[in-house]
Symmetry: C2
Subunit: 404 residues, 2 copies
């Protein structure tokens, strides 16, 4: 299905939650497009499909390389993002707009919903016999896209989470008590699991990790905290915002009244789940110093805390999407695979849009311990190279002074 000399304009857009490296993918794509002679103007749609529907487009061909490289280093979606999932009518309208601007190359950076949107738009083009190339470019800090060993954005989000727990464990060691940190991830626990990378010494936290992949029981949670607190005189806990009970009902929803317009409990941008868990510990275990923080939006957009591998790979998937579309495939998504061997190395491959769309993936069973309150060494080995080196942690030998 090699494509040859399809001449026309290109349009690129960003969707869903921002990441620290989503602009690397954008700029990787734009710089590659500048090399491809058959691609004429390079348009960016502001706020994803919203900009497409409203014809709110900017001309990326007119940006200097200096600006492009500065944007690549900047977290969060530079074109603006959107949470809207298009209807069938929206997709038909989008296709009309693309035709109107003679867009022959379309790229959508986002998660599984964006892959689905790209697929539907491609179907519209196919039905209309409009010559068209389109690629989905993976991004999500949740790391929940199928076909991928890991997704661009996860490594940097995970680096923030691991760094946060590293510092917070030291804080908790200085002023002991129970500390709960609520981590993003409604259905997939990868980001919460990354807290395990913070451990340097055997008594380091997080001492307990709760993921949405395992049912959460309050009684069991309280037992776990009690046991750790007895052993270490302190306890650091990582909790995914999406933890749910045996029936799949989010723990947050059992106590939080607020829901969004779709009736979903709002998990991010609220400290309610952490406060709820802290309150239970205070009340049921009688531990005085209990604190909860919700790491919140910093996880996906903190400047300067970026995994070097993540930035490199995010750039590569953007670049390759354009290269594939211009020279090899009519449509698809660029997936990251991991090479076998001792040293960490990745490969990229084109996969069908449908194979990334709709369903997501979760933490595999081999990454979660039997008790469901921690991760395994296999997860740590998997995640460490994606995240890259973390700041070193020094500790005194601490030889006791003989009592006088």
């Amino acid at each position: 299905m090699a494509t040859k000399e399809l001449i026309g304009n290109m349009l690129i857009a960003q969707s869903g939650g921002p990441t620290a490296v989503i602009n690397q993918s954008l700029i990787g794509a734009v710089l590659e497009a500048k090399k491809q002679k058959q691609i004429k103007r390079i348009y960016g749609a502001r706020h994803g499909i919203k900009g497409l529907l409203e014809e709110d487009l900017i001309d990326l061909s007119r940006e200097t390389v200096k600006t492009l490289e500065a944007v690549a280093q900047t977290p969060s979606s530079a074109l603006g993002s959107v949470r809207k999932k298009p209807t069938a009518e929206d997709c038909a309208r989008i296709f009309t707009v693309l035709q109107k601007y003679n867009v022959r190359y379309f790229f959508y950076i986002g998660g599984n919903d964006s892959a689905e949107t790209t697929h539907i738009i491609n179907e519209e083009a196919r039905k209309a016999k409009y010559e068209f190339r389109c690629f989905h470019i993976c991004k999500t800090i949740d790391n929940d896209l199928r076909q991928n060993d890991h997704t661009p954005g996860f490594g940097s989000g995970a680096k923030f989470v691991a760094s946060a727990f590293m510092g917070d464990n030291l804080d908790n060691r200085a002023l002991p008590g129970v500390k709960i940190n609520v981590v993003m991830g409604r259905h997939a626990g990868f980001l919460t699991a990354a807290s395990a990378l913070a451990r340097v010494y055997p008594d380091d936290g997080p001492h307990l990790i709760y993921l949405p992949e395992r049912p959460f029981a309050m009684s069991r949670f309280l037992q776990d905290v009690k046991r750790v607190h007895k052993k270490y005189g302190r306890c650091v806990v990582a909790v995914s915002e999406g933890i749910a009970d045996r029936s799949g009902k989010p723990i947050a929803s059992l106590f939080i009244k607020e829901t969004d317009s779709h009736g979903n409990v709002q998990l991010s941008g609220s400290g309610a789940l952490g406060d709820l868990l802290a309150g239970e510990i205070r009340e049921k275990l009688g531990i005085a110093r209990v604190r909860a923080d919700t790491l919140g939006y910093l996880q996906r957009s903190f400047p300067g805390v970026v995994s070097a591998n993540d930035a490199k790979e995010a750039r590569a998937v953007g670049q390759l999407a354009v290269k594939y579309a211009a020279t090899a495939y009519a449509h698809g998504s660029v997936a990251i695979t991991r090479k076998t061997g001792k040293r960490y190395a990745v490969d990229y491959k084109r996969v069908p849009l449908k194979s990334v769309a709709k369903d997501t993936r979760h933490m595999p069973a081999r990454f979660i311990n039997a008790a469901g309150n921690d991760v395994t060494q296999a997860f740590v080995d998997y995640a460490r190279p994606i995240v890259g080196p973390l700041p070193p942690v020094g500790r005194f030998k601490g030889l006791p002074v003989k009592r006088a």
Copy 2:
């Protein structure tokens, strides 16, 4: 009051909330002590005065320079910290312990309460005619110690806050709405004010900054948010955890039931204030997308986000405290002053313990705008060199594509 050849042991301890550079002061002091021949053993008390009262001491003389330097780079109090304010009996007991271990040099790293403790212990020694040298070593992310232009720990805490707002402003620009971030600082607004350093472009957030130094009125707050949201279609707000109404009652306490054992409302380690403000905006202004994060403990212990000046100055005050005690003064605190002139440079001076103890300082009026919802350029000029360079932010020129 130059001291001469007082031979004996040294003891050092850390108190209060940890910072990212409190170990720089500790290691600065220890390394200087190793140079001073009259100082024999170097003891560290675990968890501040708690370790002193319980004779829980470690021998820092036996730590390698490699370990000491690794600890210096590590955030949070390596000796452990404590929130306990000693009674008069505690101070008498502490003095007995110091005598027992032939401690002639005592150093206490902490805030105004620690300066007060050091002063009381010094008084005990004076009454007992015990030859004794003691220094308080400043630290606090709150930046609220008298006599100091700024305090060690503030620069790094402020760098974290500014970075967080920088990323969060970009996030809010990508997915517009109202975003509130609650920042540490019960009585002094310096750390919240540091959010202003995040601004690069004229429309950048934080668009509103609320400090504990100015009375907070909900109606005025809602008007401010409404105005900014109308202008930019979005609004990023920095709020100090300590904002209080006209009568001085913390806003948090008006709605939060939970108090600590002293009856104080717990401000940190809870998302309640942010959730409260977000709820008011949703309800009264009818804005759909409103989120609140509480930056929490990450502000004082995040590894890798350290101001270079802050680290250097924290090291210097520790080092100088020992040098002063060994060669020049019997007691005092080391304060940071700023040299006049265009280029940022600091000086250090010995000040009396009592001049730092008890009272704290607040944001001066010239750092706060007339409306009480922002800081002035004078504050930005003051804070920028303390914090140091922040990550660069790139932005597209964004030339609109002509409608087809």
